[in-house]
Subunit: 83 residues, 2 copies
């Protein structure tokens, strides 16, 4: 199981309710791909959304987001974390 950060661009004006609804579309189907979306952060001003997920590989994360109707613009595996 690996950790991933993905980035969506162009979601200007996104509301908290819309983010929740889009996130729910991911979590409803993520199990099929062995993915778990952990958290998401959004900036409605720039339209950027960052999603943290765990799963088997980048392509599985991409497939969940694509099937949910909001394909990611970028997906990175983030094996190194610090806090």
């Amino acid at each position: 199981m690996a950790l991933f950060m993905d980035v969506h661009s162009g979601m200007k004006g996104l509301t908290a309710e819309q983010l929740r609804a889009e996130h729910a579309k991911d979590t409803a189907i993520e199990g099929k791909e062995g993915v778990r979306f952990i958290k998401a952060w959004a900036d409605p001003k720039s339209g950027k959304v960052f999603c943290l997920a765990e799963g088997p590989d980048i392509e599985a994360v991409r497939r969940v987001h694509a099937a949910a109707g909001h394909p990611a613009d970028e997906v990175y595996e983030v094996p190194i974390t610090v806090e």
Copy 2:
């Protein structure tokens, strides 16, 4: 207090030790700006690093990273989160 996600590019080959050392440079000085770096995720393959922080504004986050010697390429306020 607001929440921010910043992005560094071009840090290919970054190791866990290097990320910890860079993060420590931030946390050593962040108090002067009222900033707190919460967590960071790195992809040594693409060279992307994502940092989550709280603080008063984007410029304060930029100043800490700049003073620590690793200016951020992008900083976004992320007022909307979901988990």
